[in-house]
């Protein structure tokens, strides 16, 4: 069974045509991988479907815009994986 990180890395590789081996847990989706907001909608759609969740993109964006969070918290892939795990756990609770 693949890890959350592996699943999202595969999604990013397929959606954005980025070599899979260049996608690391420390990669920042925007700053390192160059994924723009439109491509991220495709990734969010695939993640939502794969995990049966709804990534709260609007809430995250608002928190970043308000200075309450950094983009690292949501868009560094190991952190994104942790957020997804939390959402999956909350769904099952």
């Amino acid at each position: 069974m693949s890890s959350t990180f592996d699943t999202i890395a595969n999604i990013i590789a397929e959606t954005c045509d980025i070599p899979r081996d260049s996608i690391k847990p420390e990669s920042h989706a925007i700053n390192d991988l160059g994924i723009d907001s439109l491509d991220f909608l495709d990734i969010a759609f695939a993640i939502d479907k794969a995990f049966g969740i709804k990534l709260p993109l609007e809430q995250w964006t608002q928190e970043v815009n308000d200075g309450k969070a950094t983009t690292d918290q949501y868009f560094v892939l190991k952190n994104l994986s942790a957020r997804i795990d939390e959402l999956v756990a909350a769904k099952g609770a």
Partner: protein, 157 residues
């Protein structure tokens, strides 16, 4: 269709929020300057306008799903296929299904049916945002009335 105003949908025929489906009707005008160039002697409804008809139909579905609190803006078109020519005067049945409601976006699968045949389809991504201003929201309400936006759909705000 009011091509001059880029309002392609004539009326909402059926909107079933529980089933996340909508059907609209759009009749291609018999004359329009577009047909003088596309194409001389062989007028065809441009494929990009068929996509726009599917996008507007999807938009009404998303607006309804958001209780008229938010607006849908076309963001991406995937797998668009045009299977037949569409000529002036033809009446199109435009269908859309809400495939996914994400945070700030929605994905629909849409198609156009002509004489019982599926002639065009695509998967559309729409950004879902607050209305940029009150004037636009009011204009959308007026257009909604014109196209028969169903009164039983809950509308807030």
């Amino acid at each position: 269709m009011r091509l001059e105003y880029f309002q392609l949908i004539d009326r909402i025929v059926d909107l079933k929020l529980a089933e996340r489906k909508i059907t609209t009707e759009a009749t291609v005008p018999t004359t329009n300057t577009i047909f003088e160039g596309h194409f001389p002697g062989f007028p065809l409804m441009p494929g990009v306008l068929l996509i726009e008809a599917m996008a507007q139909t999807s938009g009404w579905l998303v607006v309804a799903a958001n209780r008229f609190e938010r607006m849908a803006f076309l963001a991406a078109v995937k797998d668009a296929k045009f299977r037949m020519f569409v000529r002036p005067g033809q009446k199109l049945s435009v269908k859309a299904t809400l495939a996914h409601e994400g945070s700030g976006y929605a994905v629909t699968t849409a198609s156009i049916v002509l004489d019982g045949k599926n002639i065009c389809d695509a998967t559309l991504t729409l950004r879902v945002l607050d209305f940029p201003n009150g004037e636009m929201k009011q204009q959308m309400r007026e257009t909604a009335t014109r196209v028969g936006f169903p009164s039983e759909v809950p509308v807030n705000g």
